[in-house]
Amino acid sequence: MSDIPSELQYTKSHEWVRSLPGNRVEVGITDHAQAALGDLVFVEVPEAGRRLTAGAACAVVESVKAASDIYSPVNGTVVESNAALASSPELVNQAPYAGGWLIRIEIDSGGAAPQLLDAAEYARLLADEAQ
């Protein structure tokens, strides 16, 4: 059973979103996603200042087997990306909700609220996918 922390929000494409102070969010991939990908060996994250569009590819995680796009859950601007992943991509496997975070984003002000799932809805999505 994969870990789905109740305080986070989720996307249908298996990213998680944590609210930070000051209209910012932290984004990573879920425990389910990291387990499905297998051992990660390379993570490419956007640089600070890059503009992101909700639903558009913004980062790439590569396991031994394949490369997968990561989609921005919000419209906004990259504030910081996780520099530790350059040398230790395995952090995403080991601690997907902590040391394996990918990017921190400042959400555009005045836009519509992002369409995200809560933990219960994400758990249902995983159950449906498993059918």
Binding site: G38, D39, V41, F42, E44, V60, E62, V64, K65, A66, A67, A86
Partner: protein, 361 residues
Amino acid sequence: MGLKTPLYDTHVREGAKIVDFGGWDMPLHYGSQIDEHHAVRADAGLFDVSHMAVLDLGGARVRECLRFLLANDVAKLKTPGKGLYSCLLRDDGGVIDDLIVYFMNESWFRMIVNAGTRAKDLAWLVAKAAAFGVSIRERRDLAMLAVQGPNARAKTASLLPAPQRDAVLALGPFVAAEFGTWFLARTGYTGEDGFEIALPAGDAAAVWTALRAAGVRPAGLGARDTLRLEAGLSLYGNDLDEKHDPLSSGVAWTVAFEPAERQFIGRGALERVRAAPRFELVGLLLEDRGVLRSHQSVMTALGPGEITSGTFSPTLNRSIALARVPAGAQGVVQVEIRGKLLAARVVKPPFVRHGKPLISM
């Protein structure tokens, strides 16, 4: 629902992530394919390779038949049990499959071929062998295990009674022998020492359990692929296929042009390629960060090429690949990854052998 080997339930019990591989439900990994890779390089790993097909060829003219059917020359096989790696070619030199053939006795050779090519291999072999009066029997009653790593031979031998143990450990590289119901060969697909064992399907689960108890760790197809690529070994369907000849695919060393009077299927086509080689298979080491993958484009000073197999090398902690490039290409080349050009260096495979890196970083 795919085909299942006799060890399918064992894999599920071991916690395997099962994937489809050429129609077979096979273990990709049992938790971490990188840990499994390191276990094989440092100790001993256990692979289920029962999806591969064992073919027994019988008849008084079987050696003559195989000298005509295979690009390598089974005349090299002089002592019973000795094995030979060879390509099976079409008339135009395209590779139908790569395989290992063992000389058992003058009326029996054993061939081990890939799972994904099994049906076409059988059709081709049956059609060609008829003229030699050679019969072909597929041994679907057998399972196959590979035990690989520096401690693989000792741990496998520990399962056997003393007299057999000594005989198993005395087996030379690329030699097979029968031990009771086991057909055991000192071969593999990892660049490490070890054995491949064909045995009655009904015994496979018990032998798996005994090897596990002897300290051999299960390893899936994921680790098998990174291990073989580090070892510079070809994967049929990636590095070898019917559209390319063996001389352009990194296995020129397996084509026996001598003796010149031996006729074999594909010889004429290969003679023409040999006179004017256009492509060769080389190793690539990515200098930048990222992961090389099959079908990525390669730009060389002599023209374009293509990656046939690419992965992340757990031993080197860098990305490596095999690539088909214009003959003579060397030095630093560019690989296109998601629209960006990254630098890679042409190197001579293998990248890793017997646990040690063979290329300078």
